[in-house]
Symmetry: C2
Subunit: 200 residues, 2 copies
């Protein structure tokens, strides 16, 4: 069949590279946008360009933010004795929504995964370890990576690396109240809160 | 919680308006693009802008295309005696892939749906009916809308409107029956009944 529209094909192609979208849903989205919602399509293009332009990593905690320091790191009222290590900004947001944790964060933006060739250096762990070494207020690292093989490997690596640098910093992992294999961002607030209070 | 990044929030907001995406998948896609794939994010923004700029409706069949006439309508080798009426360019493509139909098309870009307030005028049906009236080569309209209440209502409306204009144009609808490779026991009663009534 001759292509009806090379521009449509290119748009479907770009959409189906997004995580969680296949060729059918990409084609449905593209047709929806071009048939009825051209304004929405341009708004999405603009939001993409603005986000690419504005978003950087927080200098302290590595999360996605528009400023040098994210609002949480910049907040003087947060508990400076604790750092919670999470996989992603979505996990960080899920924790924030519980209101059970008032310390600071370090956002890995991934997990150690030998299978996918992601090592410690890809996760900017040096940034965390420098902070552990230099920050004399710090008393505790709470590791909130998921209970998956990658999450366990990452937690293990961080615990070992922190202990090697400071023996006065307590390293804990949130309690296994979160079902194994389930991502933090898909868990309800109560379960997350219990896991934080039950940390050992 | 203070927003970590207004640009990220705006992007998630634009993504979650797309059909089939909820807040979780929108947030996952946004973080994927901004953390690792800024080039891909810009490519998507560019594809959206190009598509909005280039895509129009085919003057004859109403499908999405980059030119005045889509490649199928422009193809002199296609059978001019038949028009197949489909809901969307995706349905049109599915039919083309069968190689079982060599006529032309009319693409509704929707279905009549009183519940959603979509009437005949939204579907540019006047364009189809003018074509039925003027095109003396035309001998048959094959209606390929889905077997849903909206698909049935649309088929019924078109059949009535065409018969009112031309009595020498045959109006048919594609056969309802058991799909190839599907077990009878997993097929709904309506479909089985139609397959029995439509036996040859």
């Amino acid at each position: 069949m001759p292509s009806l529209s090379p521009s449509l094909d290119k748009l479907i192609d770009a959409l189906k590279r997004l995580p969680g979208l296949g060729p059918r849903s990409a084609s449905r989205i593209a047709q929806h946008l071009l048939a009825d919602e051209k304004v929405q399509a341009l708004a999405l293009a603009h939001a993409l360009e603005q986000a690419v332009k504005n978003i950087k990593r927080c200098e302290l905690c590595n999360t996605l933010t528009d400023s040098e320091l994210c609002p949480i790191c910049a907040d003087e009222a947060r508990d400076k004795t604790k750092i919670c290590v999470v996989e992603s900004p979505a996990d960080q947001q899920a924790l924030e929504e519980t209101m059970a944790y008032r310390g600071r964060y370090f956002v890995l933006m991934g997990l150690i995964s030998p299978v996918q060739g992601v090592g410690a250096e890809r996760l900017h762990l040096q940034k965390l370890l420098n902070r552990v070494q230099d920050d004399r207020d710090l008393k505790e690292i709470l590791i909130a990576t998921p209970f998956t093989p990658e999450g366990d490997a990452t937690a293990h690596f961080i615990a070992k690396a922190v202990s090697a640098r400071r023996n006065d910093v307590r390293v804990s992992r949130y309690a296994r109240g979160i079902p194994a294999g389930v991502e933090l961002e898909y868990t309800d607030a109560n379960t997350i809160a219990s896991a934080i209070f039950g940390r050992r």
